[in-house]
Each structure stands twice: as structure tokens, then as C-alpha cells.
């Protein structure tokens, strides 16, 4: 029974009789910040890394195809760089996801996993299938290796995320997904090389905008705001 006496003593010592409202507000703000840090699926450093990956990958694709007449598509070195950058971004995202969801359970986590699979399937299948079909029917390189791989993933994945965000009434995510879809539409008409530039700029702006909106939303909910 010694242990239970200890527990009772600790609990009494930690009751809020002398807790000032200002101190409570400070504690609440601190706890919110720490919880956000612990469970955050898109911490600032990951957003910055994604931003860098987008700028480097799409910038390299644009630079390697700029001024090509006729259009042949990005060279293999650039394609390898893009795949490496995407692999680094995916590895970092998986690490963050595992850390943030460790010990977390319930239907919402399962829903997040299903959403992740839906996004991955739309990303992996969408553009390559269209490219294959276009190549099969004799479309030019500017369509198969330019417009489609630059614009289609944005439209397909963006539409998938748009549906997910609408079902959850997550309006910052909905706005970001809509921006990505619109970027894809603009990229589709920006020419085979310009499509990479338009897609990169649009994706970067959409991602930074979402991070800012999400941060503002959390700040508004804080009692100290």
C-alpha cells in the first residue's frame, strides 16, 4: 500500500488549487505546442525539405528541356536526380509519419492509412498509364515526356486529395489541393518545357500556402492568441 500513498501524495501536490489563470493559459499553450510537435505529420523542416525537392526537381527538369527543338524530354541524369530527390522526400515523410503516429490508434489512423494508399495509387498509376497509352497511340515526345508527366500527376493526385479534404471538411487542405489541380491545368497548356516550370512554381506556392494556413488555424485556436 506504500505505493498508493505515494500516488495520492503526488496527485494532491499536483492539484490546481494555487494555479493562476495566467499560468494555466501559459501551460495550456505550451502543452498544445508540444502535442502539435509530437503528432505533427508535416513539421516545418519537412515542409522546407519538400519545398527544396520541388524546386530542385522541377527546376532541373525545366532547365534540361528548355529550348529543345524538337522536344525529346529530360535527360537520364536529370531523371535520376528527380527520382533520388523524390525517394529522399518519401523516406523523410515515412519517418515523420511513424514517429508521429507511434502509439496512436483508432479509426482515424486507419482512415489516414487508407487515404495514404489512395494518394499513392493515384500517383504511381495515373501518369504512367496515360503516358503508356499516349506512346502506344503515337503521341509526340512533347506530350508523352513533357505535358503528361508534368501536368497529369498534379491533376490526378490533386483531385484525389480534393475529395479526401472535402469528406473531412478540411478547408486549408481543400484549398491547397484545388491550387494543385489548377496548377496542373495551367501546366497542361504551358508547353512541354514550360509545363515543368509552371508545375514546380504552382506546387511550391500551394505547399507553402497550406503550411501557412495550417499554422494560422492552430494559432487562432490557442487561448493566448
Amino acid at each position: 500500500m506504500e505505493g498508493s500513498h505515494d500516488i495520492d501524495r503526488t496527485a494532491r501536490a499536483d492539484d490546481g488549487d494555487g494555479l493562476d489563470p495566467r499560468e494555466a493559459a501559459r501551460l495550456l499553450g505550451q502543452a498544445e505546442q508540444e502535442a502539435r510537435r509530437q503528432f505533427n505529420l508535416s513539421p516545418l523542416w519537412l515542409t522546407a525539405l519538400m519545398g527544396a525537392v520541388i524546386l530542385v526537381a522541377y527546376g532541373a527538369l525545366w532547365l534540361s528541356t528548355r529550348g529543345q527543338h524538337p522536344y525529346n524530354g529530360p535527360n537520364l541524369g536529370v531523371v535520376a536526380l528527380v527520382y533520388t530527390a523524390v525517394a529522399v522526400a518519401i523516406a523523410a515523410s515515412v519517418k515523420v509519419y511513424r514517429r508521429a503516429t507511434a502509439g496512436v490508434g483508432g479509426p482515424s489512423v486507419r482512415q489516414q492509412q487508407v487515404e495514404g494508399i489512395a494518394i499513392l495509387v493515384s500517383f504511381v498509376l495515373g501518369s504512367p498509364v496515360l503516358q503508356g497509352a499516349m506512346k502506344h497511340y503515337g503521341a509526340s515526345n512533347s506530350i508523352v515526356y513533357g505535358v503528361i508527366p508534368a501536368a497529369a500527376p498534379l491533376i490526378i493526385v490533386g483531385t484525389t486529395v480534393l475529395g479526401i479534404a472535402a469528406s473531412k471538411a478540411d478547408w486549408p487542405q481543400f484549398g491547397a489541393a484545388l491550387a494543385v489541380v489548377i496548377t496542373g491545368v495551367v501546366a497542361a497548356f504551358a508547353g512541354p518545357s514550360g509545363a515543368w516550370l509552371a508545375a514546380g512554381i504552382g506546387l511550391f506556392i500551394g505547399m507553402v500556402g497550406y503550411a501557412a494556413a495550417d499554422s494560422l488555424r492552430h494559432r487562432r485556436l490557442s487561448p493566448q492568441a
Partner: protein, 99 residues
Amino acid sequence: MTADPLDPVIHAPARLRIVVTLAALPEGASLSFTRLQDVLDLTPGNLITHLRKLEDAGYLESETTGNGRASRTSIALTRHGRTALDTYTAALRDLLAGL
């Protein structure tokens, strides 16, 4: 200064941190006892005592699965608990506005 309008179940440092931490999860999500202890840096005995008080008030629900060393306890904020935190936050805001 008195803090009467503030819910005494939540208005204690450790319990406030517990409720806020669980409220950061999506509705319906639960957190394992070990992860909660890790996040809050509380001793198991201290955490159990505060969880019991919150559970008695209907703010939390816990579920233990498995047996012995393989058992896992997960804790989730109830809808009642989430509403209580919202009410507490609003009361705190009002109190601070009057200072």
C-alpha cells in the same frame, strides 16, 4: 485570485496537459499509455492517478487489450471531455480578458 469558473477536474497542471495532449489527436483516436507517459514525462503512478480522476469525470475512456507483459492500455478523450476542454478554454479566455 480564485479560479471558480474553471473546471477543477481540468484545472490542475498534469490533468490540463493530459487533456490538451489527447485533444490534439483526431476525434476518436486513442493514445497508448506509454506514449502518453513519454510525451508528458510523468511517472506511471502519477499518470494513473490523474487518468483515474479524468475517467471518473467521464472525460476519458481507457481500454486494455492483451494480458501480462503484452498488455496495452490506450486512452482516448471522450466527446464530453473535448467539450469540457472547450468550455475550460473559453472560461480561461474570459478570465484573462477581465484581468
